[in-house]
Amino acid sequence: MSPSNNAHGERLMVDAARAGDQGALSELYTLYFPRVYRYILARTGNSYDAEDLAEEVFMRVLEAIERFQWREAPFSAWLFRIAHNAVISQRRKDGARGRSSPLSEGLPLDGQGPEELVEMRLALLQGREAAEKLPEAQRRVIALRFGAGLSVAETARAMNKGEGNVKVIQHKAIAKLREIVRQRPVAHEEEKV
């Protein structure tokens, strides 16, 4: 079920979770954990960080869900703002420790055919470039749209921006990623040449 496709069902579930219903909390987890994980993966490019941070996000949700109020913004916008804050907080800690984020070291690369490998490396390269080279706003749009699977409207809510603005940022981000990939062919293609 996509949250945006079943707003009423989601609302009932979130309200029950706010009241402490374990079943509803579990359902929320089922619905959102993979999306939060992919969002963080797109931001950090590291699957281990993504697992740890996704867990941290859900613990923060527990702390804050009683204070969550239905306003104009959907639950997803609130949730991914928590995820964003967790990523930023982790980045600060990593910066203080002088730790650099490795390139998706946890992603599976074995058992891939040549074409799949190229595509995977393209995706990894894009993921890394997104994490390292794109401006913050572009990174967030890429992670929210393609990692978390939010719509433009939901992304706009999560970022406190207008939908038109998000579309502009999305265009710039995709174009920049394309340019980065075009300028830096993947190793497999270089070997073939």
Binding site: D15, D21, G23, L25, E51, R157
Partner: protein
């Protein structure tokens, strides 16, 4: 103006691509004048989103995090339950003093619980649940009941989730469920707490239905635990004067194996050759507050 329009078209194509409504080629055919500009962007979108959507944490990792998440939620519920009665004490300085007193007692109970866990950990003795329950034994019966009820709910939820996901249910899961239920028999009864009875009734009903269902699916050797769990459930229901309805003829789930006749609570469960439970439906969230018809236009603060 032209640029703006292109961004709208790009977004339309990206959404159609991501949602599987149109292929890349169909998008380009729809906007032939912009195909040269759209194609590289949509190919990049396709590659990036395709790979990202394939990524997921290992199922075991996801399940472990889920259990920690739910355990943490349960702990929070316990803490809330401990402080809930003080809200009825009234406001003002007197109310605050009483709040402080109860909070101090709760804190003392927590410290005792932690000390108990450490002590038992050193001696390799009882479980955390048992030590926690022991630690609060000096408090009121009602508080102990609330804590035990939360623990029983959590344990039931763990087994329900496993069953729902088709994961293997260990005999230790059933034993833990029985122990959690047993703790409830030691705290309170219907003559002193009608609210507790209302809270206990759905728990016992769900637990009974689940155990009956599992009796068809658990492996041989799990009979003993299952029988004990059913017996404990029934005796707790008797203690509180709660009538448990037998599962209806309508199937709980689409189970691949035909159901055998429903055993009575005291009868041993019939063994089956599989140890993996077929999925059990989640109970729908109860007590959900109705959605507020009025919506205000700002986001709440985020931690």
């Amino acid at each position: 103006m032209r640029k703006r329009k292109f961004e709208d078209i790009l977004e339309e194509c990206v959404s159609a691509l991501l949602e599987g409504r149109r292929t890349l080629e169909e998008n380009l055919e729809l906007y032939p004048a912009l195909a040269a500009q759209l194609e590289p962007l949509l190919r990049t979108t396709e590659a990036l989103s395709g790979r990202l959507q394939e990524q997921a944490p290992a199922a075991t990792v996801q399940e472990q995090i889920r259990l920690r998440f739910l355990a943490s939620a349960s702990e929070r519920a316990r803490a809330r339950a401990l402080t809930r009665p003080i809200r009825g004490f009234g406001g003002g300085a007197a109310g605050f003093k009483r709040w402080t007193l109860v909070a101090s007692c709760a804190a003392a109970a927590s410290v005792a619980a932690i000390a108990g866990v450490l002590a038992f950990g050193n001696s390799g003795g009882e479980t955390q649940h048992e030590s926690t329950t022991s630690a609060i034994a000096s408090g009121s019966q009602k508080e102990a009941f609330v804590l035990n009820l939360a623990q029983a709910r959590l344990q039931l939820h763990v087994v329900q989730e496993k069953a729902r996901r088709g994961l293997e249910i260990q005999s230790s899961d059933i034993t833990a469920l029985t122990e959690a239920t047993s703790k409830l028999t030691q705290t309170g009864d219907a003559s002193t707490d009608s609210i507790g009875k209302k809270q206990l009734q759905p728990l016992l009903q769900q637990q009974y239905i689940l155990l009956q269902h599992l009796s068809n699916d658990l492996s041989e050797g799990a009979d003993e635990q299952l029988s004990a769990a059913l017996g404990t459930t029934q005796s707790l229901a008797d203690q509180w004067g709660i009538a448990i309805a037998e599962p209806t003829a309508s199937p709980l789930v689409a189970s691949p194996t035909p159901r055998s006749p429903t055993p009575s609570p005291s009868a041993p469960a019939s063994p089956h050759p599989t140890a993996t439970a077929s999925p059990v439906p989640q109970p729908t969230p109860s007590g959900s507050p109705a959605p507020s018809p009025t919506a205000e236009p700002t986001l709440p603060p985020v931690p």
